[in-house]
Subunit: 237 residues, 4 copies
């Protein structure tokens, strides 16, 4: 069922990590993208603390989904690896995950507020508000912090509609986004930061601005993602 | 009366779509420009969901103004096509139309507020506030949403002075702008976002800032656009 | 006493106009720089409505200081020419003048507020707040608008300390800056927009932020501009 | 004990000064970086008022730590030299110092407010709020202003944990940052401005946003900087 080799996935994950910089989502090394080969039970992720300019397809780190151990000869994986693994284990639809400290998503995370669905830009991608998680407890911080970050995120994700809201912000931390591939996850991370930015400006203009009604939310989300979607070229276009 | 061939118009529409990216008005594929050949009854518009880097003059989609049908062998046109067509049908002065999700215009649209004419930058292009439309009703959303978007926009446009305020923001959605050509429409879309941005900052500095008086509005608008305009080079310069 | 030929000044004015774009002070053609040869009584200024990419040293427009008439064979000068001329006539120290619609200076102008001297960045260049002029009267707008703009600006400039505050914002319009040369005027226009931006953010963080005391203002302004200035390299360095 | 020659340090200081521009921390010449050779008692710093494009390794100015005098044949050092020297004398851990007028750090400085630790981006680098100093007294401004700036900064730095909060903002002035090398100091200056920016946006979204608890602060700071740090590649990776 795997649609590509490990080497092809390595290249995809590498390119997706570079795309973070292209889209101005990262300062220094503050972001990472992973991808997964579910048949082989292998996740590929950015190495920890390596500059984007020094990344290569080869130094993407292969980690076993089952136990989180890197394969032999690999660099140390991103310190956020246990968060990625936990999400992949719980949500089979996820094929790529991104974590960044992108500016506007972080601002909402630090504010401890869900990002409301204030317009159609948001509704085109996120079928409702983007949740801000609860804070982790002290116990959750002290032991297995990164694993617990994944567990707390999971509390807010709908198992059967994982892709309906393909991103979240972790309280006082920052955004995670996911998708049907590593590059799709990056796409969603870009949108998340952009709608976070628009929402800030909207509320500055009108603090009483309201979320879109369910009818408009349905219209925009479903014309791109529903069974009768009519956005984009059909397969035989 | 047509001033250029369909092929020339194709190239103009293609270039105008690329200009959206050059002016930082679009994220991903979130924008489209159209142009019209009124003699032949043909509108040309960006294809749906195609990246800007993959656009060519050739893949601009030709659609019949009369019934909205693409000519044979064309890609699927932008999902906003019925909005563009409705505006071209109602307002003969329009020769180019742009829709984007540019950041600051969207913020005002999500805020549900007209963009006030706070200074001469605005008055140089827009002869009064830039209206924010009413929200569409649920019935208008459910059937023929994009067509109804055009109809709602039309409620706010002066038929005989279509170019006096060459743009609008659709409630909880985003901006549409128009002009005497596809590139002029893009020009107006750039100005719309810039004055939206300046208006936000102005009100942050002084929430009681007031709109320009009619006298200053007249002066600036008419020195560029009136019968006795004295801005720019005259034709025989 | 002229330190350069008309041709050299032409090149300086052209380069200074291009610098506006390099420093991101202009959208489209929304800015102009002039320079003056006081011995010959000639001002050079950007032509009206010409894109920056089409500017050349040769198409800078030569205008007589005495009567504002362009020399033979010139393009039409910027519509703001009478404002520039009025300022050159009244203030002999001015050797270059800039007008832009730069974003943050315009926001303060639209807000109708002086830009307060909130820190040393401001004090390094402007020896006090940057004034926002009064609005022009209807009579001043109706006849000789651009000339009257210059007259209103002049009400706020200290004749003997013209360079102590080398810029101003015109109510509901935008900034003018000046300097000891066209490029120095551009330099001051860049600083004006930057301190306008910093002042906005400062007051967002702390609406009660106060202006610098006279002592700190003196220290920073005078260490760069006073008789005993000790900033930069001395002439024989 | 010196790990590099004076010539190598010259090149490092030059590159670190250029990095200020690369990271968009400076307008014109508004920033300087220094480095120190403690064995030889020599500090290297940017010359005063020289454009970044004209900087070379060779024109970095060598100054004696003991008495602040430049070595023979050097340009005039940055006017902020006495501040850098005072900090190097008092804090042996500092190996590089940066001063800029970066926009968001200046805004907090002008607001006269500490930058609160609102999230993990901050906690990854700064082990608590970034202090804003008291204003200098008139006497401190009148005589030895730059030296006194260093003394006032020193009031807020923990002698034994100099690197725990590697930056500060000087009241109504701007940021200073330091590090284990000139380039590390620039890195910290970039982070300082970024967390200043995020903090502004956070408080705009939620004026009641709170600082991170000590537990989360410990976790993030110590996983990068503590004895058991597990971020980045280990030395034998």
């Amino acid at each position: 069922m795997s649609e590509c080799t490990i080497e092809e996935l390595r290249a995809q994950v590498w390119q997706a990590n570079l795309a973070l910089e292209h889209h101005h989502l990262v300062t220094f090394t503050w972001g990472n993208v992973s991808g997964i080969d579910r048949d082989r039970g292998i996740m590929l992720i950015k190495p920890s603390g390596v500059d984007y300019e020094n990344l290569t397809a080869e130094n993407m780190v292969a980690v076993r989904l089952a136990d989180g151990q890197p394969l032999a000869g690999q660099l140390k994986p991103s310190s956020d690896t246990p968060t990625h693994l936990e999400l992949y284990r719980r949500f089979p639809e996820m094929q790529g995950i991104v974590h960044t400290h992108s500016r506007f998503a972080v601002a909402w995370a630090q504010a401890g507020k869900d990002i409301p669905a204030l317009g159609t830009t948001h509704a085109d991608y996120f079928y409702g508000p983007i949740p801000c998680t609860r804070a982790l407890t002290q116990a959750e911080i002290d032991d297995d912090y990164e694993l617990n970050t994944g567990r707390v995120i999971a509390e807010y994700i709908h198992s059967e509609q994982t892709m309906a809201i393909p991103g979240i912000i972790v309280n006082q931390h920052g955004p995670f986004a996911w998708g049907t591939s590593p590059s799709n996850a990056v796409h969603n991370a870009v949108v998340l930061d952009e709608v976070a930015r628009m929402a800030l400006y909207t509320l500055q203009i009108n603090p009483a601005a309201t979320s879109v009604d369910q009818g408009l939310l349905n219209k925009h989300y479903l014309r791109k993602h529903g069974k009768n979607a009519y956005y984009g070229q059909s397969n035989n276009a």
